[in-house]
């Protein structure tokens, strides 16, 4: 592999991690800001007179419920951030592809929300172990999601899913709108063949013409000398 290619993948991976971590830290900040306002409101209610008023007790109960739901939201963000950060621990690992796709879709929801697009994961019930590069796979999926988001119009839907195929899995990103081919989208997608090649995979649907609604790629079940049967090294399950 050429030095320039290694540099490009390395830089793009760092930028990808930075983007996800920065975006998710904003999400955590949003949660903390809401909790801060709710605790301020709680203080306002407590400082007001008439403590025996049942309406005030009910208000305090309502605030406590809202704080608990924000804490649960914050916990979910932090748990996903933590699993995402650990996906960079080793370049090769055995991981649950269903959990990994669910996680990257969850982490990408912020960008979908900012573009007013509904992003969902359509996943089978059973889990499947793959032996490959978890960070690289999340990066590839995120690049596809970004390209689909750049192409999507307001209030449309993008779905990420996978299917088991001979020797591995096919990951598909489907959009209600056709994928645009413009300089911005092409720039985002330019790194995709490099990442997929690093995963030992192949692009399956990208150049289907102007009206393509789907980006898809294949990745092998086992990559680089480890096997998906090596369950002792499963990440994030």
């Amino acid at each position: 592999m050429s030095e320039a290619r290694v540099d490009r993948i390395g830089q793009e991976s760092l930028a990808f991690m930075g983007k996800i971590m920065a975006g998710q830290s904003h999400e955590v900040t949003n949660v903390l800001n809401i909790i801060n306002e709710l605790s301020g409101l709680q203080q306002d209610v407590l400082l007001s007179a008439d403590h025996e008023n049942p309406a005030r007790l009910s208000k305090l109960r309502e605030i406590c419920g809202k704080i608990q739901s924000q804490v649960a939201r914050g916990e979910k963000i932090v748990r996903n951030m933590n699993l995402f950060a650990h996906s960079a621990d080793t370049p090769l690992a055995v991981f649950d592809v269903k959990g990994l796709i669910g996680r990257i879709v969850f982490l990408a929801e912020r960008w979908a929300r900012l573009r007013r697009v509904e992003l969902t994961a359509k996943l089978p019930d059973e889990t499947t172990a793959l032996a490959n590069c978890p960070l690289g796979l999340q990066h590839a999926i995120f690049v596809c999601i970004e390209a689909a988001l750049l192409s999507a119009s307001d209030k449309r839907r993008i779905t990420v899913g996978y299917a088991l195929v001979d020797g591995g899995a096919e990951i598909g990103i489907e959009s209600a709108d056709p994928m645009l081919r413009n300089p911005e989208v092409d720039t985002r997608l330019s790194v995709l063949p490099l990442i997929i090649s690093e995963l030992g995979g192949t692009l399956r649907a990208l150049d289907d013409g102007e009206e393509s609604h789907r980006l898809a790629f294949f990745i092998p079940r086992n990559r680089g000398g480890i096997s998906s049967d090596d369950s002792g090294r499963i990440q994030g399950v």
């Binding site: 800001n33 709710l38 301020g40 809202k66 900012l114 573009r115």
Partner: protein, 143 residues
């Protein structure tokens, strides 16, 4: 005494509703909008003493919304209240005409002070505009 009229624009519904409740309890008249387009519509239909605006929102972001609000009414007093302020964002917003850039979380009493200051500036600007209009009418009539 008339209460200060304030518009809050933020896509975090729970945040904006809680802040609105706290400000209403302090005697302010509060309206809320959950995106930039809705905020601009509200500001078109009603005059506000201050508008408090988030930065990162779906659709129009804070900077685009700020531009839209000022294009509609150059005297409007817009403050950015954001958890994602960078020096560049703050400088850009101020250059465009935001009167303040506040970082979340902001103490509600500090926010009250900022709103009162904005109201005073808004009243002074409206008074000045009215005076200029009267002077213009008088000048055109040759008085």
């Amino acid at each position: 005494m008339l209460s200060d009229k304030v518009l809050l624009i933020d896509d975090e519904v729970e945040f904006i509703e809680t802040l609105a409740e706290r400000l209403r309890a302090r005697g302010l008249e509060i309206d809320v909008a959950t995106d930039g387009e809705q905020g601009i519509e509200r500001a078109k239909a009603k005059s506000y003493d201050a508008i408090i605006l988030d930065f990162a929102m779906p659709g129009m972001d804070g900077i685009e919304t700020l531009k839209g609000l000022l294009a509609q009414n150059p005297a409007v007093q817009v403050m950015l209240l954001t958890g994602q302020a960078t020096i560049q964002t703050a400088a850009k917003a101020t250059k465009l005409g935001a009167v303040d850039v506040l970082e979340k979380p902001t103490d509600v009493e500090t926010l009250m002070e900022k709103i009162h200051e904005a109201r005073e500036r808004h009243v002074a600007l409206k008074t000045q505009q009215s005076q200029e209009q009267v002077e213009d009418i008088l000048r055109r009539r040759g008085w």
